[in-house]
Symmetry: C2
Subunit: 332 residues, 2 copies
DNA sequence: AAACAAAATGTAAACGTTTACAAAAAAGAA
DNA sequence: TTCTTTTTTGTAAACGTTTACATTTTGTTT
């Protein structure tokens, strides 16, 4: 590997001059520039990024921590992030946790070690102590994750209110026995949605029945399996609220397979409004999150943090929207 | 930001000693270690990763370049990559090109500047010169992309043979008018699949008709639209071979919407065997790529390149498999 | 041709680590 | 106690850049 020194030697100039040529803007005479350029070509020289970053104390790289990249929910958010990043000359890299918290921890450490300029995390699944410490001294934004009263820059919708709203809708449609598919509550947001569900029942004078709650992994297969198991359990229900569209899609598959009519015999509602939800049969009633906008806002927030500029709001609550489709209402 | 110097000063030792304590293995007396540890805590010191990497000349980070992260085809491959990486203490980061070649170029440059230890790219959509140069001196593996006779470590299936095989299957099922949905041929692999299609026609004595070829973006929506446009064109066809499952799924949606029975009036075949393909109605006939294995192999290859060990095969051809489902055969 | 200003180049000190090597301190053996 | 050996510590030179400052070269003005 040729270094700047080799180039300087070959071109017969000082390393400072080489650096100026590489950077482009420095005052260097055309003759010298030509000599240097030729030496660079000849040696196939590439400036070392680490040395440069060390000197500049910044990398222009930022990392997005995603719990599971195959969850399509994140894709549109990523668009928003990517486009905002590009406008600001930042480069984003995605760390797929694959639901392993060790990965989140690793990159939070990388942030504190200045290996990257900032992080947007869609997980918050490590020791609160670590999160707090990272957010305190470094640019970190938590998105789509509720945090129990620690002050970290964040953006999220109001999951409790949204879940309540969609359950109220089911109840208003005449359903009184709502089953709930949720995911393991290591993510607080599933806890929030469960809270919204119970709040809705309570406010409508319905009983909470533990037998109607099923824990899934947040994917189609698991939603499918848990719905079958629910059907086999013999417990009566006339609707399903799944805390994620993937689980809801699995539920629809199971119901159809058993010949149960949707929504008449059993209505289904999801959460997130992923792309597939409007395409399946029947189209899925769900909560739409302003995904693209969340991405943009999260990135803008992070950039402000990196630049040290003032942040108007450290905790943004984005607007959600109830999207009613045929899975919950015959007449639309 | 506290540096190693600050810690050394506070603890009253040399920076070498601090370094030894941080690293963990060095010979340092318990008393000194305690002093240093306390100073580290007190100053909230985190070693600078860039300085460390500069010294070590390696980062343990490798980048995966993906054309479009929302293409589920890549997700299972990523599993293979991630698990192999973890076993080897490497950390992977995903660069989503979002189909912009500028991003691929940027990270190839990052590789040459030693910002990362290696790259696996699922794109090859920049100047061949750049690719060649990068692969020549740095650890780079191209996966799932055919490269026109340049010698770069790679792994791929035989796209021509696979496409031929699936078209032969359609023809053997009695279809004689196969439409083809393909994607813009900036990716050579689509060219390959088209070649397989034409080869199959030729070998079976059927005419190639340009009107049966439609160019899509490789996603559901575009497959849907192009199929509708094909139907509206009035050109007769009795089957569709889509060069990707997402396009095929769009095609199925369009056919169903128009009340055309699958596979009797029109058979459909895809390519890739993504998760959704076995779940839709009717299940999709397709070519399965050994995705997980491709991920493992690509990563292992890259690790060998990084370690400088000998590589048995620089160009791996993975085995594909024709998966026949109901979208092409009523009786299965 | 001398005096000056402007442009081009070089020198050397950073950036924050790691690590050979040297030196000092502690422990063990005689 | 004195001499070795072992353990612990420190010194200083890397790693490959950038950049303030000093110096030299070039060009302009008189």
């Amino acid at each position: 590997m040729a270094t700047i020194k080799d180039v300087a030697e070959l071109a017969g100039v000082s390393i400072a001059t080489v650096s100026r040529v590489v950077k482009g803007n420095g005052n260097v005479s055309p003759k010298t520039a030509a000599k240097v350029t030729s030496a660079i070509k000849q040696l196939n020289y590439h400036p070392n990024a680490l040395a440069r970053q060390l000197k500049h104390q910044c990398t222009n790289n930022i990392i997005i921590i995603i719990p599971d990249i195959s969850n399509t929910f994140f894709h549109e958010i990523l668009h928003g992030i990517e486009e905002t990043a590009e406008r600001n000359d930042m480069h984003i890299l995605i760390a797929d946790m694959h639901n392993k918290t060790s990965i989140e921890e690793y990159y939070l450490r990388a942030l504190m070690q200045k290996e990257v300029d900032g992080i947007i995390s869609f997980s918050a699944n490590v020791a609160q102590q670590l999160l707090k410490q990272a957010a305190n001294d470094f640019p970190l934004v938590i998105a789509c994750q509720y945090l129990d009263n620690i002050d970290i820059p964040s953006i999220t919708i109001d999951n409790v209110a949204a879940a309540k709203e969609i359950c109220n809708h089911l109840i208003a449609s005449g359903k009184k026995n709502i089953a709930h598919l949720t995911a393991l509550p290591n993510f607080l947001l599933y806890q929030d949605r469960l809270d919204g569900y119970t709040a809705s029942l309570r406010e409508n004078g319905l009983d909470f029945r533990a037998g109607l709650i099923r824990y899934c992994s947040p994917n189609i297969k698991s939603g499918y399996e848990q719905t079958l198991s629910l059907l086999d359990s013999g417990i009566y229900f006339d609707s399903i609220f799944a805390a994620g569209d993937t689980m809801a899609i699995g539920a629809i598959r199971a119901l159809k397979e058993r010949g149960i009519s949707i929504p008449d015999e059993c209505a289904v509602a999801g959460f997130d409004d992923i792309e597939m939800s409007s395409l399946i049969d029947p189209p899925l009633t769900t909560i739409r999150q302003p995904k693209y906008q969340i991405g943009c806002d999260a990135m803008n927030m992070l950039i402000s943090l990196i630049r040290g500029s003032h942040i108007a709001k450290r905790n943004i609550v984005a607007e959600h929207q109830l999207v009613i489709r045929q899975s919950s209402c015959s007449v639309n």
